[in-house]
Symmetry: C2
Subunit: 411 residues, 2 copies
Amino acid sequence: MSVSATLAANEIIAARRAAGQDVLALAFGEAGLPVHPALIGQLAASAGEANYGPVAGIGSARDAVAGYWTRRELTTGAEQVLLGPGSKSLLYATLHSLQGDVAIPQPSWVSYAAQIELLGRKAITVPTLPGEGGVTDPQALEQTLRDQPGITAVVATLPDNPTGTIASKQTVEKLAEVARRHELVIVSDEIYRDLVFDQSNVVSPAQWAPERTVVTTSLSKNLALGGWRIGAARFPGSPLGQKLRAAVASAASEMWSAPVMPMQHAAAYAWSDPTELVERVGQSRQLHAAVARAVAGVFAQHGAAIQEPQGGFYVYPDFEMFRERLEERWGIEDSAGLAQVLLDDFNVGVLPGSAFGAPTGTLTARVATSQLYGNGTEQRLAALESADPVKLPWIEEKLSRLDSVLEDFLR
Amino acid sequence: MSVSATLAANEIIAARRAAGQDVLALAFGEAGLPVHPALIGQLAASAGEANYGPVAGIGSARDAVAGYWTRRELTTGAEQVLLGPGSKSLLYATLHSLQGDVAIPQPSWVSYAAQIELLGRKAITVPTLPGEGGVTDPQALEQTLRDQPGITAVVATLPDNPTGTIASKQTVEKLAEVARRHELVIVSDEIYRDLVFDQSNVVSPAQWAPERTVVTTSLSKNLALGGWRIGAARFPGSPLGQKLRAAVASAASEMWSAPVMPMQHAAAYAWSDPTELVERVGQSRQLHAAVARAVAGVFAQHGAAIQEPQGGFYVYPDFEMFRERLEERWGIEDSAGLAQVLLDDFNVGVLPGSAFGAPTGTLTARVATSQLYGNGTEQRLAALESADPVKLPWIEEKLSRLDSVLEDFLR
C-alpha cells in the first residue's frame, strides 16, 4: 500500500516545484480557490471552542446539514445526520459498518478501493455506461451480483470523479432498483453535487431508494475547504438507516471521537446556505465549468476521446487512438506510463487512469482543471469573478502550454 | 458495539442537565479548562488556510513536534513524526498497521480494546502491577506471550488513564526487555505526559526500546484542546519504525487525508513550547494535582481503596471492601451497577471500571476530577490561577457534596 495516489502526486509535484521546476500541475483534486472571508470570520470567532462535543456533531451543525439536503429535494431530519472530519472518514466508517464486499464503479475515486482493502474486504469493480461515470452499469451490476456472493453495498459518485460526468436519472433509477432487489446499501458520494454545471442534471439514488441510500458530502469542494476536514453523512430514516447510523456513530467514537469543533460552528453557518456563500458557490460552479470545458476542448482538438464535462473540476481524456504512436515514440503501454512521460518529459502532472482502477492497459488520465486558476489569492479571485475566465492571461497561457505539450506529445 | 463509553456517558449527563437535573458529572475525560488566548489568536490567524497539505503534516508542525520530544529527552527528527486528527485516529491507524493481536493493560483506556475489535483483531488484557497502572506487568505479559500466539504489539499508557498512576522506571525497562525479546512493537500513549505531577517521574518505553516504540500525544489534555482534534505520533528511527510510519501514512491518507490545516498552524506554535504555554501547562498540572489529590482524599477518608494520583486528572477508587454492604443495600454486584446507582440515586456520573476492561465483578470506578473546576471560563481561570484551588467555594462545595454522597452511599 502506498499513500493515496492523489495525495502522493501532490507531494511529488510540490517537491519538483521546490526544486525550481515549472510544473503544470493537473493532478491534485483541490478546488484551487480561496476561502470566503465570511467563513474565515466564522472560524476565527469559534477558535475558542475546544470541547469534544457529541460524536454525531453539535445540534446547530446537524440542523444546518438537514436543511442543506432538505432544500435540495432530499428531505432530511437532524437525527439522520452524522458529521465527521471529512467525508473520507465518514465513508471509511460507513464501509466498515457494512460488513461485506463492495461494488464500485470502474473507474472511480482512488480511495474507495483502498479503504475497502484496508478493511480486509473485496472491492469489486463494475463498468459504467459511456458518458455516465460514477454509477455502475445497472445491468453489469446485476450480473456481478449473480456471479459474486457477499456484496452488501455499491458505491456511486454523483457527479463523478475522475470523469467529470454525471449519470442520467434513468441509470440512477435502475441502480436503485437493482440495489433494492439485492438488498444492497447504496453509498452515494455527492461531494461535488453543488458543482454540477447544469443543476437540473443533479440526481441522487436517495430519490429512488431512500430506505437504503447513505449520502455523503463535505465543504471541501463546493467551498474549497479541503484542509478544514469537515464532512457530513445522511443516513436513511428507515430502520436499516437507523441501525447503520448507530453502527457508524459507534465506530466514529472509536476512530476519531467527534468532528472538529471550531469547524462545526463554521459549517453550521456554511450549510445554512447564506446568500453570500450561495453566490460564491455559483461563481465557483461557473468557473469550474468554463475551465473544464476549455481543457476538454484542448484534448478534443488533439484527437483524444473525452466526455463533455458536466460537474466538478476534472476531465478524463483517453488516448487509445494514439496507442501505436505512443508506444513507438515513448514506450508507453499503459496509463501509468502515460502519466510518467507527461511528468518526466513535459513537466505536466496528471493522474493515470490506473489510479482510479481503470482496466490495465487503458491510456486514460485524470486532469484536475482547478489547478489552472492562478497562483495566489489575487489571480484566483480574479478568475472567480471573471465573466470569461479562460481569457485571463494566466489561464490562457496555461491552456496554450497544454496545447503545445499535446502537440509535441502526440506528434 | 455502542458509542465509546466515555463519550456516551458525556451525552447522557448532558441530557440530564438539559432536563434540569443537578448532576455532579465526573465521567468525561476532558481537561475542563479554557483555551489559552494565544492559541485562539493562532487559530484565528490561520483560519484562511484550507489546503489539504501533506498527509504527515506541514513541515513547521512536524519540526515543532520533533522539538517537543527532543526537549523531553526523546531526540526526534521531523521525519519520524506524523500528525493526525487527534491521537485516537493515529492509534487506530497504527494498530491497523501492526497486523496482529495486541496486549493491553487491564484496566486501560476504553478505546484501545474497541479499536482492536473494530480492526477484527484480539485485544488481550494483561494485569498491571499494584499502583503502576497503564503498563502490563512484564512477567504476566511474558506468560501471556507464551500462552497466546499472534500478539504483535503491546499498548502502554504513561501516565495512566483510568488509574491516574504512572509505572516505575524499572517496570517500563522490563516491559522494553520483554518487547524486544518477543519482537513486539510498543505503542506508548503519552497524551498525559506533560501532566505528570512530579515531572521527574516521567518515563517512556522509547528510552529503553527506541527501535520498537511508537509514542503518541496530542494537545487535547495538556492544553485542553480536545475539540481541535490534533495529535502526533513519533515513530522509531529504526528500519522497523520507518516501515511502520510509511504504512501508517498510507492508511492515514485513505482514512482521513491529512491533519486539519488551521489546527496544524496553531499546533506548530503550541508544540514549540512558547513561554506562555509552558506556564499555562504548569498551572494546569498544579491544578490537576491539587484537585485529584483532594478527591482521592475524600474517597480514602470513606475507606475506598485508592492510589495516590500521580498524573492527569483521574482517580480510580475501589469499593471491594464494601462489597457485602453495597450488594445488600443497593443490589450492586459489579462496577456497572456501582456507576448506575451513583447516577440514578445520587446524580453523580462516573464511569464503571468495566468500561476500561476491569475484570468482571470488580467494584471500581473512574472519576474525572477535572470536572470540578467550575462552570464557565471565569471560574475555571480562577481555579487555574489559584494557589489553593480546593479552597475555592465552588470546588469546596463539590468536594463536600461528594463527601456527603459517599457518606450516604457507603452507610
